[in-house]
Amino acid sequence: MILVTNIIGLLLFFFVIWWFWFSTPRVQKVDSKIIDVLVDNGVYTPSPIEVKQGQELTLRFFRKDASPCAEKVIFENWNLSADLPVEQATEIKIPTEEKGEFIFTCQMQMYRGILKVI
């Protein structure tokens, strides 16, 4: 019993490290000019989003979560942000001239999304 508990504990410990820091969720490749992003349950869906460099891109955020955490989305790299009214779509035009991985978050960084420009 003691041994099993310890093994499970250690496995959990390494799982947390691997899952949150060393593995990434499946990337959604997108060709369309407009991508609908759902803001609900503490996550942006889809995320990560992968787009091609120079591709015209508008992210259309649809906020379902009424908690104040979700009320803003911020793209720190480009100094872009938008208020997201509940049950409404909000469009943000995204520059894709530069390659790289860009994080978008809520004000408190609890909601986190990734945009990959390749």
Partner: protein, 742 residues
């Protein structure tokens, strides 16, 4: 997803244009339907398309377009927030109503032992009831935690779901099979799980209420926008929704009404209260040709104006946009915290696992029970919210407060920069002075007349954009003088203008220009000296190599400049005046307002260099100017302040824009910035201390020595209150006094 957009189209002159615009709109990929209403000059578009693409298409077809929006967003937002607040309260009450009696019964020893079959049955029943409560009151935590987990992300939901979930599952295990743990550890934590959920929901509800106040400033700005407007169409006056007002329409404003969109007065006159945009209490006189801004109040007369900017283009909309943008930005201090916040929750998970294993392996008695309690408490007490909220919530209130005072702060960097300034460089014209120069005297040289002097000077100034030019032209206009045609006109930077009038070369400018062309000005030396001592600007006029006379121009100092400069010096700042004007005039102005450091006779292109020199002496420099002529200097300075009055200020040009035109705005900007940065530091300090003390105590570090173990329910209450405290502290910024009130 299909969405609908309404556009205002300007330039539709015939029914044929309707076709052109409709075809252009239908040509945009994603548009399903587009129809243009010729009578209303609007277009209605449906389809899966970005509005910018629609606007581009209309522009390419040769028309102007703007999006028309309903301003019901605010009410919708408030309604949604209130519904969520009520929901959270309801969930808190339900969980509390079940958890509190269980807690009291347990403490009073009224609940049965788990070691008997009947006791097990009672506890199983309690387990089921609490499960329902957890599903009703806490499902958002579990849903959030699960979705975040799938996205390889962890947040507050993760911690609460794991904390309460662990407590409940452990309790269920020992309810079903109590013998799997030692007798001492046979204690269920159902009530703790639901009380924690009650407390955290209650805390979130409180936080939401307090948060509503943090965005009051922007709400107030949004509410300045009237919902209807009175337009004059085909000679008839109609009250219509604001979204239906097009470009180039004639609108009537009656006394006491708010102006609906930006425009230019075409008939009538009145005084307008612009304080809501500029922070300046004085009403502004408006007559034909003057600009009026949406959101300001017409105080006395009735007038007609033509709409020039509507929807998102109005000054008010731009201010709202800028404030919103700034409220979301972070100063460098906040970015460091973001890095911590990003790894915070997984780190707490690791600490929780280690805590469990340490207690499980190294405590003598009751190890499983201690391990469970400490792990649960670690998960519950850790508060990523207080950490994450600390910076944005203060910025939100600080930037909003500044906007109320007529100070627009571009972003968090500007805010942090303004709090660190050591030197303020003030441009003279339009910053210290009113920027409305008037001709005060004309002194003709021997053989010339005053009229001749003014006529020639005004003729030369026709093509000039210098601020002095308008005063000379105005004086000539008042005397109804006819102006000459000027040939070969050119401006000599920092010196004046040169042109040919009636075949003879004419020069208008300062003494440097005169000496460059070897003009003898000695005959008027005494007079010019007198004028300079009186802080007047002296402009020489010469024609055909001979001095014709001097024009004295005076730009009065703003009423509150002296007091404001005194307050800036009191704040410990070095105040410098920078001007292209003659040294004596500059010194006279500086003396009148109490400035000791004067840099005069600076060419416009050299202002930037002067700022650089100050920076090389380790000064953190702010430049205050009109934002148009001083753009390079403003950009060079650590913080550029653009100063303007109401509608004519270039918001885009500076780090901080002072809408009111008073130097008190600089004091307000600095005071708000310092207070906001201090507030952020307090919040961060509190959040860091809370977490770095709370987590070890929750993990039980005090237990071996003092036998003190934190109750998970107290951890829940502390966690709920920590973010409320941060929001309340930020709210203190709302009651700060302005520079004038201090």
């Amino acid at each position: 997803m299909t969405k609908k957009a309404r556009l205002s189209i300007n330039g539709l002159s015939c029914a044929g244009c309707v076709n052109t615009v409709e075809t252009a709109l239908r040509g945009v990929a994603g548009v399903e339907q587009a129809s243009v209403n010729f009578a209303e000059h609007t277009a209605f578009v449906e389809g899966d398309v970005a509005v910018e693409q629609l606007l581009d298409a209309v522009k390419k077809a040769g028309y102007e377009a703007a999006e028309l929006k309903d301003e019901s967003d605010t009410e919708q937002k408030q309604a949604a927030e209130f519904a969520h607040y009520k929901q959270l309260l309801k969930q808190a009450i339900v969980a509390g109503a079940v958890g509190a009696p269980l807690f009291v019964l347990g403490m009073g020893g009224f609940l049965p032992e788990l070691s008997t079959a009947s006791g097990q049955l009672v506890w199983f029943g309690i387990g089921l009831v609490t499960l329902f409560v957890m599903v009703y009151s806490g499902r958002h935590f579990f849903k959030g935690a699960w979705h975040s987990f799938l996205a390889h992300n962890a947040n507050m939901d993760t911690l609460i779901a794991l904390g309460t979930g662990t407590a409940w599952i452990y309790s269920l295990i020992i309810t079903i099979a109590p013998d799997t743990v030692p007798k001492l550890a046979q204690h269920a934590y159902y009530e703790a799980a639901v009380i924690i959920i009650a407390l955290i929901n209650f805390g979130s509800a409180l936080e939401m209420r307090a948060r509503g106040k943090t965005s009051e400033a922007i709400q107030r700005l949004i509410q300045l926008q009237p919902k209807t407007a009175r337009v004059v169409r085909d000679g008839k006056e109609l009250d219509i929704a604001i979204g239906q007002v097009g470009l180039g329409e004639t609108l009537r404003v009656r006394p006491g009404e708010r102006i609906a969109v930006d425009g230019e007065v075409i008939d009538g006159h009145s005084s307008v209260d612009e304080s809501m945009l500029t922070g300046e209490p004085m009403h502004v006189e408006k007559q034909q040709g003057d600009e009026v801004a949406a959101g300001t109040i017409n105080v006395s007369g009735t007038f007609l104006f033509r709409s020039k900017r509507i929807g998102a283009e109005t000054m008010l909309a731009q201010i709202i946009q800028l404030v919103r943008q700034a409220q979301s930005s972070k100063p460098a201090i906040g970015r460091i915290v973001d890095k911590v916040a990003a790894v915070f929750v997984p780190t707490v998970l690791l600490i929780a696992i280690v805590t469990f294993l340490v207690w499980f392996n190294f405590s003598e008695n009751d190890s499983i029970s201690l391990a469970i309690v400490t792990t649960m408490t670690v998960l519950i007490i850790a508060c990523p919210c207080a950490l994450g909220l600390a910076t944005p919530i203060s910025i939100m209130v600080g930037v909003g407060k500044a906007a109320e005072l007529g100070v627009l702060i571009r972003n968090g960097e500007a805010l942090q920069g303004a709090a660190k300034l050591t030197t303020i460089v003030l441009d003279k014209t339009g910053t210290i002075t009113k920027g409305q120069p008037t001709v005060t005297s004309l002194d003709a040289a021997d053989g010339a007349t005053e009229e001749q002097l003014l006529q020639l000077a005004a003729s030369l100034e026709q093509g000039s954009e210098h601020p002095l030019a308008s005063s000379i032209l105005k004086a000539a206009h008042e005397r109804e003088l006819n102006l000459f045609e000027v040939e070969a006109f050119h401006a000599v930077s920092g010196k004046g203008v040169v042109g040919t009038i009636n075949g003879e070369q004419a020069l208008l400018g300062n003494s440097k220009l005169m000496s460059e062309y070897s003009i003898d000005v000695s005959s008027l030396d005494v007079r010019s000296e007198q004028l300079l001592q009186q802080a007047q600007t002296v402009v020489y006029l010469a024609q055909a190599g001979k001095l014709i006379g001097i024009v004295a121009v005076s730009d009065p100092v703003k009423e509150d400049s002296r007091k404001a400069i005194k307050s800036l010096i009191k704040l410990g700042l070095k105040v410098v005046m920078l001007t292209g004007d003659n040294h004596k005039t500059a010194q006279a102005v500086a003396n009148s307002v109490g400035i000791k450091h004067v840099i005069s006779e600076v060419l416009p292109e050299d202002k930037e260099n002067q700022i650089r020199k100050l920076q090389e002496n380790n000064e953190v420099v702010a430049m205050v100017g009109d934002g148009i002529n001083d753009a390079p200097a403003l950009a060079r300075a650590n913080i550029g302040f653009a100063i303007g009055t109401g509608t004519d200020v270039a918001i885009e040009s500076a780090d901080i824009t002072l809408m009111g035109g008073s130097l008190y705005g600089v004091i307000d900007a600095i005071t708000v910035s310092k207070a906001t940065i201090r507030n952020i530091k307090q919040n961060l300090f509190g959040a860091f201390i809370y977490n770095s003390l709370g987590i070890p105590i929750a993990a039980g570090v005090l237990y071996p020595v003092f036998a003190v173990l934190l109750n998970p329910m107290i951890a829940g209450a502390a966690m709920a209150m920590s973010s409320v405290t941060v929001v309340l502290n930020a709210n203190r910024l709302r009651v700060m006094k302005s520079g004038r009130e201090q």
